[in-house]
């Protein structure tokens, strides 16, 4: 019995780790750095970082108040709203991309109104940012709602009776208490956004220096003759970035845990003691 379980565990770990290990076995560290100084890789990295930074800033700035409102208010149709917010999570990325085109494309729902203002979104860097925000924000918002719901409403009430208005209460009490959950949500959202491929290629295309992000560049390199090693190197860069992110997240969470007596889980099953 124990042996069977141990074999299953070993098989699972090996299966999940092997592709990552393979990348680094094929690409020596020196080659990895050298490949990243190639123009195509450098451009893709810059596009990825820029669009993700803007998208995550928007997710944080708009998603946080939105999540708080959804977490603290009970109204008719709330569960419908929550389902709509989570819908992009289960949409295949290609469907998300075609949906974004149907909404914001030249012939889309809002496309004609946008074009009267001289705005055309598809195949621009803005489109990349939108695609990233679309697929990644539900991860953050979902986690943020759970984090806000887990904070004791009496603490916010106590803050109000101590003379703090709603804003001070939010920034001094609610936000610090929900911090662990918010960090976890943001890290998930960032990881999802960084790897975004399907929606981006449909809505924004794959133009070097403009809309070609790292995942798109990997695919482009892969399709070139002799491009496999370059694709591997870029893959390695993405892996390193993801590992740094995951480590940062774990450090952030353990800090949060020792910081207060609340515990936060990664997937919204937050509990407060």
């Amino acid at each position: 019995m124990r042996a069977v379980f141990a074999v299953c565990a070993a098989a699972a770990v090996a299966f999940l780790a092997l592709p990552v290990v393979a990348i680094f076995l094929r690409v020596p560290p020196g080659a990895l750095v050298a490949q990243l100084t190639e123009p195509a890789a450098r451009d893709a990295l810059l596009v990825s970082l820029k669009t993700n930074a803007i998208a995550q800033a928007l997710v944080l700035g708009i998603g946080t108040p939105a999540a708080y409102v959804l977490a603290t208010n009970r109204f008719r149709g709330r569960s419908l709203v929550l389902t709509l917010v989570e819908l992009p999570l289960v949409l295949p990325p290609a469907v998300a991309g075609i949906g974004l085109l149907a909404a914001f494309g030249r012939l889309g729902l809002l496309g004609s109104s946008l074009s009267t203002f001289g705005i055309s979104l598809p195949f621009t860097q803005t489109a990349v940012t939108m695609a990233v925000a679309y697929v990644a924000s539900p991860l953050y918002i979902r986690q943020a709602i759970a984090a806000f719901e887990a904070t004791d409403p009496n603490l916010a009430a106590a803050s109000r009776t101590l003379g703090a208005g709603p804003f001070r209460t939010f920034f001094r009490v609610v936000l610090p208490l929900a911090r662990g959950g918010l960090i976890a949500g943001l890290a998930l959202s960032f990881a999802r956004g960084l790897g975004e491929f399907g929606a981006t290629i449909m809505f924004a295309g794959s133009l070097q220096k403009v809309t070609q992000t790292l995942p798109l560049a990997i695919y482009a390199q892969f399709n070139l003759p002799e491009g496999f090693n370059a694709a591997l190197a870029m893959g390695g860069a993405l892996v390193v970035f993801s590992i740094v992110l995951l480590a940062g997240l774990h450090i952030g969470l353990s800090w949060q845990r020792s910081d207060s007596n609340r515990s936060v889980s990664l997937f919204g099953l937050s509990t407060s003691s």
């Binding site: 004791d152 009496n154 603490l155 009430a157 106590a158 803050s159 109000r160 009776t161 101590l162 003379g163 703090a164 208005g165 001094r172 009490v173 610090p176 208490l177 910081d259 207060s260 007596n261 609340r262 003691s273």
Partner: protein
Amino acid sequence: MATLRLEQVCVPLRSFDLELSLDVGATVALVGPSGSGKTTTLRVIAGLMRPKSGRVTVDEEVWFDGARGRVLPPEARRVGLVFQEYALFPHMSVRQNVEYARRHAADEYLERFRVSHLANARPGELSGGERQRVALARALARDPEVLLLDEPLAALDAHTKTTVRAELHDLLAELDIPVLLVTHDFEDAAALAERVSVIVEGRLRQTGTPGELVAGPTDAFVASFTGANLLQGEAYAHDGSTRVRLDDGTVVAIAEPAHGHVALAVYPGDITLATTPPHDSALNVIHAPIRSVAELGSRVRLAVGPVSAEITAESLARLGLRPGQAVYASFKATGTRVVAEHEPPAPSAGA
């Protein structure tokens, strides 16, 4: 001293409406069973809950006026609310908690509540009694016009409770502001407050000093809530006095005229126990076996047939009473009070 006044405050709750008029000068305890609207009352005063109608004022200051649509947000009401579980900010130190209101330097309050040595500790590291002192320090550092205490003793263990109750009593005596405290324990209310209001299902049943409530409970609920035994039976006239045939057949004499089905309140302290029949024929006597013996410090509570009697531990030892033993429980006709019968409130969760 200022007066906190609630005038016909109405709050629709799940199974009943809270309807309340109450004046709070000095210390008033609102007592009642769980779910009777006590905590709701505090939240309404603090501005955390908006009533449907009514007025909440402190002297000339209007905090809420349903008719004029005036609603002061909680932060604009100078109110100190100590939550049942204290609601200390877990991510802040004791000092940061007390400084949160930014009205007074924390040191004075940390010292006054003997928590200076804990200034840098987090609430999670404190004992129940310490948490309560920090919560009080925090609420008073806000410089409130009114202090509200939600079940101030409920979160404490029995040992801590006795000490904290005495401390709280001294503190409330020093304060020069109206205090409204909420509790489900009449003894705590009697120990801490000058006036006690009994609330059941959102309505006040009776208000008075603890002594007044014990001496003249208006109904069976108030009587049993203040600790009385309730005996039920049929009253009839007998030789110019009144007798009551209890449901178990025992006949007792009462000092006031009554007839038909009645409820009698008899306080445990007014009952004497003996192993032999009392000589005084004017006494009411119940002869029954002892069902249980519970020691409460120097006092002992014994269940004898339909009543509970409270005697000293010394008497218990002298009489050598044991569970199962048949004893004579006697009380004077003047020790019984006829009280109006009320349906006992249905137990419900939450306050």
